[in-house]
Symmetry: C2
């Protein structure tokens, strides 16, 4: 079959999704991976771990679709019903698949854990099913035909699903006669909101080409701007749009693909043979954590100081007690001394320091929740900025940590500009 | 009608949800609000902004349900089809609703914006529909009967939906004769996998009462165990199950409700008037960040040291160069000295130190990726543990940071026990 518009439907299962305890991000992941093949999901149905409902849905979906991707219900517990339901609907027994059992034995051995009965349930699959490998989790995936429809069963754990989508999309590409024609350029930006970016682009480019789809994905802290074409014939237009975005969004663009601010900063540090310590108060170690999530971060990052209490700012980073008493911990004077202390204590080239009121408590009339000072730079060349960014505590920490990394990125690139966010959130505090 | 198990289904619409550009969190919000009334969502169907698909779904859902909540498609653009689809399916015209128009006029006036044609489309609703107020957005909600089913149409903007769920749930409580009957006890655990927990419970409690629903939610790092009853009459059974879980899962239980390890550690520190510094290598600031995400963490957390490079372990925490040279950075000797250094540098009561190989690179035959040493305790009373936990880098960091917090929790509680995870992952390295 090489239908140009095959019907693909998703069946998502899990009481935790129905109850709202878990937000389903898996179906978005699946849809995005299918989109890379030029395939789209027509409809998705979500039900709880109820065998009767699952049987009815799977039977109906198999009759209405070319492909059904089932997500969830592969775990070891009695709630996990997918294998049994597929066996029931296709009128075949469950049997132990040797390949799945071998996978479970290896999985347990790697963890020095015994293979228990609950795990073994994960090897009991519909007799006719073919196994799909799960490189990291205990639950293998499986697929089989039902009513001329390909049923593909995938695990609910997002990291496991992500890896399994490689063989799944390869299977679909072959079965549906799809070669990857969709080409996407992703630009990662920081410092612009989605509506601002949209406005800038629509004002400056009213004649945007129809063949290049412009999309946005607003994450915290980054905004991804996406240029999608569905045929390689439109590459020239796509490149034109890419150049136009570089002109319009300028130094808000961090990089392409899935580049994060931390990755970009570490890459620049490595290129320049520099290192950066962090001196954090309100972000509480998050900047250090963002940097050290990147494999190989030890080349550019050696030391972080989380100086949450005032006496630690003094004893560890040498911030003067007079500065703390006179200006308060959230002040330009203190973040400068934090950055200087971090440079001194670590012998590094650049430093980033932040101190602010993350809330929900601790705000004052002068310095309300959301007030923050940043300092960054090298010895003798430290820049500062005061902002007020009154959002929920963890979002505040995320955005401020990212803002700190972005200012280091700009310094390493020799830019004197600031992100758009800063202009909108400048504080009068000094 | 006061059916005890009314059928409630959701119809979610939006191309951005189908494409995966947006993750749907609205359906989780709706489900959680309904759960407070003892109502559950039986099934949800998601389709793109396609009038034919929407008409077919809405017609079918109205025949199969007591209530259908439609979410999305109320905006001003041509993609927003919900009002037209409901009018089509119920065989009535769209007409301008004076109340909706007045709402739009006020909404535009507050923004000093003209009322344009796109906005006015939001006042054109099915003739028979009743308006539901939207206190913050331009799109009013609306509801009407169709095939003896109540159809409730709500906006896709999460902040608008959140507010509109107040009148919606009030309507449903009255119509369905529901007062809050569902009661959930949530136990937060660390150190047990879902399958181990399931196995322990099913081995020890084969006669689990039918009226108490046992559920699991595996997050990283915590596993939530949930006891749900649908009627207050089952409270005694629920309490019995709760006590049984405390016996079976013991000190793996961190707390109830939504308690996190960091919250529990901070609570214990506050009760005991103690503080804890962190000395982190492989977790790179994550332990400090987990602690400081908690509002009010400054009472128990004053200082964190991210000593990522060996020379920083020496210069900042006073780890002896000989220990680093002889045993390597990932060693018992070094984590003990890191913990001691953190205690000395901060003047605190307890410390936690970790050093490990997070990967993907940096492993050796002796110390493969996943090898980690933890040290925790107070001056003169420092405990250590070597583990091997070979999982993907960020998951490794998350689980090790949590393990460190858990060992401090156990120390603060005077427990000498270890979590189950440790027994499975003990390393031979010393």
């Amino acid at each position: 079959m090489a239908d140009s518009n095959p019907v693909i439907q998703l069946l998502l299962t899990g009481n935790e999704i129905m109850s709202g305890d878990t937000v389903d991000s898996n179906s978005a992941m699946i849809a995005q991976r299918l989109a890379q093949l030029g395939l789209s999901v027509q409809r998705k149905v979500t039900v709880g771990d109820d065998p009767a409902l699952l049987r009815r849905e799977l039977a109906q979906l198999s009759r209405d679709s070319d492909v059904v991707i089932v997500n969830g219900g592969l775990g070891p517990t009695i709630d996990d019903l997918t294998a049994q339901v597929l066996a029931d609907v296709s009128g075949q027994p469950l049997r132990e698949h040797p390949q799945a059992r071998a996978h479970l034995e290896q999985w347990c051995a790697r963890r020095n854990a015994p293979l228990n009965a609950a795990n073994l349930k994960q090897a009991m699959l519909p007799a006719a099913a073919d196994i799909i490998d799960n490189p990291i989790g205990s639950a293998v995936g499986f697929q089989q035909e039902l009513n001329d429809c390909l049923i593909i069963c995938t695990p609910g754990v997002p990291s496991e699903l992500r890896l399994m989508l490689d063989p799944v999309t390869a299977t679909l590409a072959q079965r549906l006669g799809k070669t990857a024609q969709v080409e996407i350029i992703r630009l990662q930006t920081f410092g612009l909101g989605e509506s601002s970016a949209q406005q800038i682009i629509s004002d400056a480019a009213p004649d945007w080409p129809d063949d290049v789809d412009l999309g946005f994905r607003a994450g915290a802290p980054q905004l991804e701007v996406k240029l999608t074409i569905t045929d390689a014939a439109f590459r020239a237009q796509q490149q034109g749009c890419r150049e136009q975005l570089y002109e319009l969004l300028g130094d808000h663009i961090i990089g392409e693909g899935s580049t994060t601010l931390a990755q970009r900063v570490l890459q620049l540090l490595q290129e320049q043979g520099k290192t950066i310590p962090t001196a954090e108060s309100c972000t509480g170690g998050l900047i250090a954590s963002m940097l050290t999530q990147v494999p190989g971060s030890s080349t550019g990052f050696h030391a972080g100081f989380v100086t949450y209490a005032n006496h630690i700012k003094h004893s560890v980073l040498g911030v003067e007690e007079a500065a703390l008493a006179e200006h308060g911990a959230v002040s330009e004077a203190v973040v400068i001394q934090m950055a200087e202390g971090a440079l001194r204590r670590s012998g590094a080239d650049y430093a980033i320091a932040v101190s602010g009121v993350a809330g929900p408590d601790g705000g004052t009339e002068d310095k309300p929740v959301g007030t923050v000072w940043l300092a960054w730079g090298s010895a003798g060349q430290i820049s500062t900025r005061g902002l007020c960014w009154p959002v929920e505590r963890t979002l505040f920490q995320t955005m401020i940590a990212a803002a700190g990394l972005d200012m280091i990125r700009r310094r390493l690139l020799g830019l004197s500009s600031e992100p758009n966010y800063f202009r909108q959130r400048a504080t009068q505090v000094s």
